[in-house]
């Protein structure tokens, strides 16, 4: 069992207890007092164990506090990364090169140690995630600053190194923040490598925007793997992959000269408008069917952005403004109605 599974079990227990209380109140079902007591004792032990071993939130109050801690940790991580970078810039002129190298290397290692230490303390998971994000920020600073100190040639593989650390923290500990940054770096590295492999250069990876479409859907496919753990990671792969793929497809829908397919600009734009339309509907359907919220949201977003772009192209110049926005609103209502229909279809008879 991992943390996400433990949290789901805790939520199930809380829901079960609440439903049981409602049934008793409504006079539908009154369990035998001895059974009820045994059940309550079992649940109390189980929740205590889930809280102790997996840092799961076992009451609504702890869940609300956890959310607050996560928000504070995210803001804290951003501030601490800025502090680390500015501290280095403030003092590196007065430190000899070996000292600079030692300081740059020590910073991410110290933050990784702090991550592990905080992770072992009860209830300190958001703090551990904060340290993990700062470790990743310090690692980005380290490689960038080493490049400046020694005038090293810029390399796309720095993105792979940063991705590797983010993914190690995401897969190893289920930290969403470092995991998300890791997947994003991996996406960029894949796009640069595709550019290199097809005769372009990594410095100009979006010269052929189809590379980003391929890289995005490849990451989305990774997010479909059933055995990919922990449970926090697959949604990140799916979300980043779809955002990268749809952004590139929308770019190609409006700027056909970014394509490497060799078609005319107009043909490319029409092709990618149709592909974006088909892919966004397919992704929305998949999101509804599998219950993947991030997939549904990304697909819906791509569909609506395409609708806005095309409606501007077709109607902005010759429709009165009020009619244009009415049309746009009706498209959004249509999307809501389709999604409602899918939602109702998923309800038990």
């Amino acid at each position: 069992m991992d943390r996400a599974a433990a949290q789901r079990r805790a939520d199930q227990v809380r829901a079960f207890e609440a439903e049981l209380a409602s049934l008793q109140e409504e006079g539908v079902f009154t369990p035998d007092p001895a059974v009820r007591q045994r059940l309550a004792a079992h649940h109390a032990t189980l929740l205590a164990e889930l809280a102790e071993r997996y840092d799961a939130d076992t009451t609504p109050a702890t869940a609300r506090l956890s959310l607050g801690m996560r928000v504070a940790a995210l803001l804290g991580a951003v501030a601490l990364i800025a502090a680390v970078v500015l501290f280095f810039l403030r003092y590196w002129g007065s430190i000899p090169v070996p000292g600079q190298v030692a300081l740059l290397t020590a910073a991410p290692l110290i933050m990784l140690w702090a991550t592990g230490h905080a992770g072992r303390q009860p209830g300190a998971r958001p703090l551990a995630e904060l340290f993990a994000l700062v470790a990743l920020g310090a690692f980005v600073l380290q490689l960038t600053a080493l490049g400046s100190i020694f005038a090293l040639r810029d390399s796309p593989h720095a993105f792979l190194a940063w991705a590797a650390l983010g993914l190690a923290l995401g897969h190893g500990s289920g930290f969403r923040g470092p995991g998300l940054v890791g997947v994003a770096f991996l996406a960029w590295w894949l796009v640069t490598m595709l550019a290199e492999a097809t005769g372009g250069t990594w410095r100009d990876p979006l010269r052929v925007a189809e590379h980003a479409v391929v890289a995005g859907f490849a990451l989305f496919a990774v997010g479909l793997l059933a055995r990919l753990g922990p449970r926090e990671m697959p949604p990140l792969y799916r979300m980043v992959g779809l955002v990268v793929a749809f952004l590139s497809m929308l770019l190609l829908s409006t700027s056909g000269d970014l394509s490497g397919l060799g078609l005319t600009r107009r043909t490319t734009e029409i092709l990618f408008q149709l592909l974006t339309l088909a892919a966004s509907v397919a992704v929305m359907a998949l999101g509804v069917r599998r219950g993947w919220r991030e997939t549904l949201v990304t697909g819906t977003g791509a569909f609506l952005v395409l609708a806005v772009i095309k409606s501007v192209d077709w109607f902005w110049d010759w429709l009165p403004r009020y009619l244009y926005f009415l049309l746009l609103g009706l498209v959004a209502v249509l999307v809501v109605l389709v999604l409602r229909r899918w939602r109702l279809a998923g309800r038990p008879a």
Binding site: L89, G93, A161
Partner: protein
């Protein structure tokens, strides 16, 4: 909590080791040494929030007027750029790693100065008296002569080929660079159609170099007339400031 600490620590240490190995390999042998004045390599610092001292290489860039820019079509093709008209029409621009050659106080610099003075004089001739024109040309010439005497003269994909072509290390610097190509629009005059040509730009990979240790002490020391900078390049042609001496 399953913190796979060994993996995260390993990634940081491996990446650091690779970067330091690359730097160490470059500096394990000095391939070229060139002495520059403070005109070619003035220093800047980032102010209160950044204490690092940077040396910025100042150099002139030849004019970009022909197909392929100043670098020329064949050099761009050597670098792997698509120089066909069809590619320019499709705006298939790119950026490629290369090596740039900077010449210090040589024939290219003198030709550049003469050309600029002639152009300037021609522009002034239309609306200035001869005395005023001579005065302005003189001021302009002085300005050029008091500035950096480095000029970009060549670029190519292979540093060794460039080193053989420019063997005088005291005059020619060979530095890692990026060559960018772009669509440039030429307007010949009223009534003429605008022509689209392939342009190129060469940027040094690291135009600003970090100055630290004793070299930084000399620059930060009491004000002097100027300084001489010994710039070294190593096995991978990455530059570093080897020494700074007061003038």
């Amino acid at each position: 909590m399953r913190v796979r600490a060994w993996l995260a620590f390993g990634i940081v240490l491996l990446a650091s080791a690779l970067a330091l190995a690359q730097a160490g390999w470059n500096r394990s042998e000095i391939r070229r040494e060139t002495v520059l004045s403070d005109l070619e390599a003035p220093t800047t610092s980032g102010g209160r929030d950044e204490t690092a001292l940077w040396m910025r290489l100042e150099y002139a860039i030849p004019e970009d007027s022909a197909w392929g820019g100043w670098l020329g079509n064949s050099r761009l093709a050597d670098l792997g750029a698509d120089t066909t008209r069809a590619a320019v029409r499709r705006r298939q621009m790119d950026a490629r790693p290369a090596f740039a050659v900077l010449e210090r106080d040589g024939p290219a610099w003198r030709a550049h100065v003469e050309k600029r003075i002639v152009e300037h004089a021609r522009a002034l001739a239309a609306d200035s008296t001869p005395a005023r024109r001579d005065s302005l040309v003189s001021i302009y010439r002085d300005g050029l002569e008091r500035g950096s005497r480095l000029i970009l003269v060549d670029a190519g994909p292979d540093a060794e080929v460039l080193a053989a072509r420019y063997p005088d290390a005291s005059r020619h610097l060979i530095l890692p660079a990026v060559v960018r190509t772009y669509a440039s629009f030429r307007f010949s005059g009223p009534g003429a159609a605008t022509d689209t040509v392939l342009g190129s730009r060469v940027d040094l990979e690291h135009r600003q170099l970090l100055v630290s240790g004793a070299a930084a002490g000399v620059v930060r020391g009491p004000r002097r007339a100027g300084y001489r900078v010994t710039l070294a390049t190593g096995r991978s042609h990455a530059p570093w400031v080897r020494a700074v001496e007061p003038e």
